[in-house]
């Protein structure tokens, strides 16, 4: 590493080459500066500006007002509760399903390519377009209720529940799992493919059952990937919005009962024109993401160190 940094300064460079890198970076940085860098700074500033005056069209002071307002808003707490519920349901269930599916897909089956294509489709298709199909399927007289009826379940008001919206959430979670599954399977599958097959062969020689191999060999060796999947999925589930929109015709649940954090940000912005509150909520969302990202980095470092040692 040190040698590289020394090399930076010593290899031949013409006068033009001294400014050349900046020319290459300029178009890239224009976009980043205007649409990523500036917005970050601005959103932080906006979250601390308070007392918006309609007269002066400006803010009169700095403070935590927006945060106080956000944290005192029952809708925000509903959004947090719903988001957490969504994360806690979608992440573990999709992980468990994906583990089994990825493990099966990894077994060099005939037709594996066809299975993979089918499993990966939801990843490349528009969430909102497929969401309409799900909405249609979740209809009271839709195909899902019909199929459930065949096994004796009474019609479920998936998207129209008046009582607490438990069914709304269930529908959203089912759609969410279906949607995140391909991504999860791909990550796990590539993790599986990185495991040296000799471990499994060795276990087979020791006459271990395939269930035992799965839990005692595959899963532990896959642990770093599983952690990664958990965290990446948690972060992406925190941002749930596009799944919600088509299911309820653009509303947060059938009774306004399914606010999520991103939905809350949107409503604050577009409906109440309260950019301060939207910014505060966005920063709280970011805080969650930041914590989980740091967790992931930490785990990655630990596993990297461990794999170096072995």
């Amino acid at each position: 590493m040190k040698k590289q940094s020394a090399e930076n300064d010593v290899v031949y460079r013409s006068k033009f080459e001294v400014i050349e890198p900046y020319l290459y970076l300029l178009p890239f940085f224009l976009g980043v500066a205007v649409f990523t860098l500036y917005p970050v700074v601005n959103v932080v500033l906006m979250s601390f500006k308070q007392d918006y005056s309609m007269l002066t069209r400006g803010f009169s002071s700095w403070g935590l007002g927006n945060y106080v307002k956000t944290l005192n808003d029952p809708n925000f707490w509903q959004a947090i509760r719903n988001t957490l519920k969504y994360v806690l349901l979608v992440v573990p269930i999709s992980l468990a399903l994906s583990l089994v599916i990825a493990n099966f897909l990894n077994q060099k089956l005939k037709g594996s390519a066809i299975f993979q294509s089918i499993f990966f489709l939801p990843m490349v298709t528009s969430v909102t377009a497929v969401g309409l199909a799900w909405k249609f399927m979740f209809n009271n007289r839709g195909v899902i209720n019909y199929l459930l009826g065949l096994v004796g379940v009474k019609a479920i008001p998936w998207l129209r529940s008046a009582q607490g919206g438990a069914y709304n959430m269930t529908a959203l979670v089912i759609f969410g799992i279906w949607n995140i599954l391909p991504f999860t399977i791909i990550l796990l599958l590539s993790g599986l493919q990185n495991i040296d097959p000799q471990y499994r062969i060795a276990a087979k020689v020791d006459a271990a059952s395939s269930l035992r191999i799965f839990f005692r060999i595959t899963v532990p060796l896959l642990a770093p990937t599983i952690f990664l999947v958990c965290i990446v999925n948690t972060i992406s589930c925190f941002k749930v919005f596009s799944e919600l929109y088509p299911l309820f015709g653009g509303n947060p649940g059938s009774m306004g009962n399914l606010y999520t954090v991103v939905y809350y940000i949107r409503t604050s912005m577009m409906q109440y024109q309260d950019y301060g509150v939207a910014s505060a909520a966005a920063l709280i969302l970011f805080l969650f993401i930041f914590v989980f990202t740091m967790l992931q980095q930490g785990i990655r470092k630990i596993t990297a160190r461990r794999s170096v040692r072995t």
Partner: protein, 272 residues
């Protein structure tokens, strides 16, 4: 015993595969059904005829052709520009030397965790201030550079040995010439991945157009589709026909380029 487990594996994969594919199946079939068939109970599994009448009706009621063209224009221009800016930036970070290179790159990487949902608040205002609200520019300009794709390309560029570069330099090649004559052709697989992932993201993009596009003239497919469903007079079979139009191009793309897309996702995850 082994045979049994094999059968079980196939059974499990088939059942879950059917569940995974079912929404697509239902969407495609419903797109061809008549109103009566769509609302029938018990449900009709297959349409009586594969007529395109629902597609025609949907395209009459809402300017889906317009949406489709808009989606293509936005996708092509944003993918083209992003690819060029990413290639240039990745090359600068990987090959060229300037003070603070490493620090700057680390900083950019850390910016990848910023959720777009947070940036939207300001970007929405920026688009209005720039006077490009409700225009094609609003859809393209924010997506002309990408840290994520730059990162993928830089990772590839880093694997190209120094000796190739110096060989080219000694043979009289400029950095510019080396980039386009040697690096870019060599990076074709990574570039394909980047272009495909970017095209997917652009085509399926929903939230941003929803914020900045207010009129039919500039709506792209996913946003236009949502507007269509909430407007009066759209029937489920027509919605499903319109959804099919949104979904099908990417399915076809995926079937042809599965290797690149899956590889790209496995390496870097999806954007956003």
């Amino acid at each position: 015993m082994r045979k049994l487990s094999r059968v079980f594996t196939y059974l499990f994969l088939t059942v879950t595969g059917i569940i995974m594919f079912f929404p697509f199946f239902w969407m495609f079939m419903s797109a061809f059904k008549t109103s009566a068939e769509v609302t029938a109970s018990p449900p009709v599994w297959l349409p009586s005829s594969f007529s395109l009448v629902n597609f025609q009706l949907a395209f009459q009621k809402a300017p889906f052709l317009r949406y489709f063209l808009n989606s293509i224009i936005v996708m092509v221009s944003s993918v083209t520009v992003t690819t060029v800016t990413s290639i240039l930036a990745a090359f600068a970070f990987s090959r060229l030397r300037f003070p603070g290179r490493q620090t700057l790159f680390t900083l950019l990487l850390s910016m990848m965790m910023l959720p777009f949902e947070m940036l939207i608040i300001t970007n929405y205002r920026t688009v209005i201030d720039l006077g490009i609200y409700d225009s094609m520019w609003a859809l393209v300009l924010p997506f002309t550079s990408s840290i994520f794709y730059t990162y993928i390309l830089k990772n590839f560029f880093d694997t190209v040995p120094d000796s190739l570069y110096w060989s080219a330099r000694i043979d009289g090649s400029s950095n510019w010439n080396y980039l386009w004559k040697v690096m870019v052709p060599m990076a074709r697989p990574s570039l394909t991945t980047v272009i495909l992932l970017n095209a997917l993201a652009s085509w399926n993009s929903f939230m941003w157009p929803m914020y900045v596009i207010a009129t039919d003239t500039y709506r792209t497919l996913p946003w236009g589709l949502q507007v269509f469903t909430t407007e009066a007079g759209s029937n489920p079979e027509q919605q499903m026909a319109a959804s099919t139009v949104v979904v099908l191009p990417m399915i076809i793309l995926f079937l042809f380029a599965r290797k690149y897309i899956v590889g790209g996702v496995a390496r870097g995850g999806l954007k956003g």
